[in-house]
């Protein structure tokens, strides 16, 4: 702490690099740990918050009483709550997520099998969304700045509002109808071969791409009015250089923040899209396990999703701090 404040006070003389990063890392790590703790505790409590007897609910009303009892024993539900919590945490640290009620397989194994399919989907969709949104947003900003290109602006915002109002799973259904049922260009469902990725990735990417491109445009519009962009123009650079080298990096900060949000909601969005396309990922399994009341499996899946989201948020924050050194000191 001391070095950090000293470095800041002395300003440029000592070089503010000293102490800035450790402090940022400490703060960020503390936040990550707090969020992780909330997540872990919530998923532990989930089974206890279920009204009535969760095991009875899972096994059905006809299951014999001693079987229910045996399951409870196995899940540790008969121990006092604090002991269950301790056991849960202990197992978690060893990577043990328990055993699925329905399939009797270790939850960790089930998840490890399905996680890659989901992660692939989310990552590809995110990359596609960014690859589309950034150029589109920049070009639209340049075309429509200061009230120019009125028609282009109207078309862009109109299309944008409509597209972002369509939820991803509906887009999925629409895409299936247009490109699989009507024209047989792509397979309807399943995960086999590269062309089976096209529709699910599109369904996931279109919404975030719309939102992101809108943010990029708004940010660019604001940045293009900044004094330093005027300075860049005073250097008589080409418009492309002014916009891409001088304006865009400053628009990235907000874009990345929203992009991070988009990515984490995209991770959640996979649940629906996977169900539309019968994609063999976590999303398909969490829904079926919620319906089947397979609590250990649900618990594990929720944990994995949550950890994924938290990791994304952390990566985004670190990237922000690297890109924009001010943000690392600024948010003290």
């Amino acid at each position: 702490m001391k070095t950090a404040t000293a470095g800041l006070k002395a300003g440029p003389r000592v070089g503010p690099r000293v102490g800035r990063w450790p402090r940022f890392a400490l703060r960020r790590a503390a936040r990550l740990l707090a969020s992780l703790w909330v997540l872990v505790t919530a998923s532990f409590l989930m089974i206890h918050l279920v009204p009535g007897d969760p095991v009875r609910a899972a096994l059905g009303p006809t299951a014999p009483a001693d079987l229910v009892l045996a399951h409870k024993e196995e899940l540790g539900l008969l121990d006092p709550l604090w002991q269950q919590y301790a056991t849960f945490l202990g197992h978690l640290l060893q990577g043990d997520l328990g055993v699925s009620i329905a399939s009797r397989l270790p939850v960790g194994e089930v998840i490890a099998q399905q996680l890659p399919a989901t992660a692939e989907l989310a990552l590809l969709a995110f990359l596609l969304a960014v690859a589309v949104a950034v150029p589109v947003g920049v070009v639209m900003a340049v075309l429509t700045r200061r009230g120019r290109g009125r028609r282009a602006e109207l078309a862009f915002t109109g299309a944008n509002v409509v597209v972002s109002a369509i939820p991803d799973f509906l887009l999925g259904v629409g895409l299936v109808y247009l490109l699989a049922v009507q024209t047989h260009v792509f397979p309807v469902a399943g995960r086999a071969g590269p062309d089976s990725y096209v529709l699910p990735v599109l369904a996931l990417a279109i919404g975030p791409a719309a939102v992101l491109s809108r943010i990029v445009r708004v940010e660019m519009l604001a940045v293009m009015e900044a004094d330093y962009v005027r300075t860049a123009r005073a250097k008589r650079l080409t418009p492309v250089r002014v916009h891409v080298v001088h304006a865009l990096p400053n628009a990235v900060t907000a874009t990345l923040t929203i992009g991070g949000l988009a990515l984490s909601s995209l991770v959640a969005g996979t649940v629906l899209v996977e169900n539309v396309f019968a994609w063999p990922g976590l999303g398909s399994s969490i829904v079926s396990s919620i319906v089947a009341k397979d609590y250990p499996l649900v618990q594990g899946t929720v944990l994995v999703y949550g950890v994924g989201v938290l990791l994304i948020n952390t990566v985004v924050d670190v990237a922000l701090a690297l890109l924009d050194p001010r943000s690392a000191i600024g948010e003290a």
């Binding site: 440029p12 503010p16 707090a34 969020s35 997540l39 998923s43 989930m46 279920v50 009204p51 200061r146 009230g147 120019r148 509002v161 409509v162 109002a165 369509i166 939820p167 509906l170 259904v173 109808y177 049922v181 309807v188 900044a226 004094d227 330093y228 962009v229 005027r230 300075t231 860049a232 123009r233 005073a234 250097k235 008589r236 650079l237 080409t238 250089r241 080298v245 001088h246 990096p249 400053n250 909601s265 991770v267 959640a268 969005g269 649940v271 629906l272 169900n275 539309v276 969490i286 829904v287 919620i290 319906v291 609590y295 929720v302 999703y305 949550g306 989201v309 948020n313 924009d324 001010r326």
Partner: protein, 600 residues
Amino acid sequence: MRALRRPVGVTGVVLLALVLFAAAFGPVLWGERATAVDTANLLAGPSAEHWIGTDNLGRDLFARVLVAARLSILLALAATAIAMVLGLLLGAAPMLLGRRLGRLVTASVNVLVAFPGLLLVLFFAVVFGVGARGAALAVGLAGAPAFARLCHTLIAGVSERDYVAAARIAGVGRARMLRRHVLPNIAEPVIVYATMTAGAALLTFAGLSFLGLGVQAPDYDWGKLMQDGLNGIYVHPLAALGPGIAVVLAGLAFNLTGEAFAAGPRRTHVLPPAGPPSPATAPARNSVLSADDLRVTIPGPNGPIHAVRGVSFSVGDGEAVGVVGESGSGKSVTALAVAGLLEPPVRVQAGHLAVAGEDLLAPGAHRRLGTSLAVVFQDPMTSFNPAHRVGPQLAEVSRFHQGLGRRAAFARAVDRLRAVRIGDPERRARQYPFEFSGGMRQRAMIGMGLMGEPRLIVADEPTTALDVTVQRQVLELLADVRRDTGAALLLISHDVSVVTDVCDRVLVMYAGRVVEELPAKDLRALARHPYTRALVAAVPDMETDLDRPLAVIPGLPVDPVDVPAGCAFAPRCPLADDHCRTVAPPLRDGVACHKAGEAP
């Protein structure tokens, strides 16, 4: 209700009315059709009788979509209400529970907000079990954190206002204060946000029912209808797409309405067509800058702003010319026009406008100015790009215009930083602008101009943002640079003493025109225009009797949208008469005044 004047608002409200109508009367009007089993028409495609076909019992799907509106909307509204009430309570926690507990609540809300809504929904769906009621609770609870954060921000803003503080001092209870003083003031944004949340809840609900976690048979909402339809998408796509379209339309209805009311009216301003162009003229000889009848018009909310209204002047090689005037006199706009930095929709017209031998009114001239024209802006804190290091920002000029390589350009940047007296330039060049002080940045900005071989330096209020000691240094630096390079200087300033110190000649601007032009040394003693005299009188000097109140120029500067017909200075001029108010004085012998030189 201004939102209703925009097409977006109208579309939203009309859609919303339709959706609400279907929700209110759907089951009454079409309930029978929706349940009528038609065994002759199982899973039929669209026909005149069944617009989007029938389901596996031969029930009319169009009627079912209309009937499903009620359940879909009710569930979405219920979830929104839960989210809103809970969000308000959580958001008001710092106010209701006191500081420490409140902070804990806020921190937890911040943790929860980081998780995507759908994940929270799934979590709560597990807890509350599968079904409509559980789903409504789940969607509502999952929406609460985002709502809480909004309310927290709004309430924090309101509770800083005077009347809330007054109520607190008067001992008004917390709950009462919230109800009487805070809620009414945040109601509008909360309702707008709630409208959008309702749209989102509707979509989430559709998703849940689609997954089989929401509404269960025999009840049906749009999501359930879609789920039923998806299996038959090969043979009967409309069964899945029909309810899907309903969901999108209803979602749009809520979103557009909310957005239209949130955004409020927005006007874009357009200039009327240009008047006749000024007759083309030739630039003055031996001048590095020559402008004739320069006019700049800017679109504004209340009509075009005539920022510069026919200004002619020139700057000779190596000469230093100052432009003084109050803010709004058009001096900075003149500088930007001369630097070629005004872009449409701002309109620049002139008989000619030539800088360093380039005709600025012709396309393509700008690029060649990269090395011959240097510009120094007012605010050094914002004029450097915060995303790049200082050295490369300077080096860019040489890389781009002089074809230097990365190394050579950087070396030149370091050299230039040294030339503008920045200590340890090697290290400084590798730093970001925020690591520089204001004066240092302004010097670096001048250094940037020196990367080329400037023939003219345009400096727009270069010292205004700096404190007095730094001001001196920057002015001295400018003088040294001129001595070393022989560059001419166009110095814009509101500060008469700065201009008299640095410049050879001074232009005085008022309301977009030059009202007087004279040698800088004559400014104090020989000014003839009443405005110039007033400006000079407003500056304290050695002879000013500091016991007497400082002279100020009475009245306000002219509104540039509405410039009076005669002399623009007439409303503030002690000498003004009716002739002044009707006939604009032309600039003759360096002064634009009917009564030039007369004593007040």
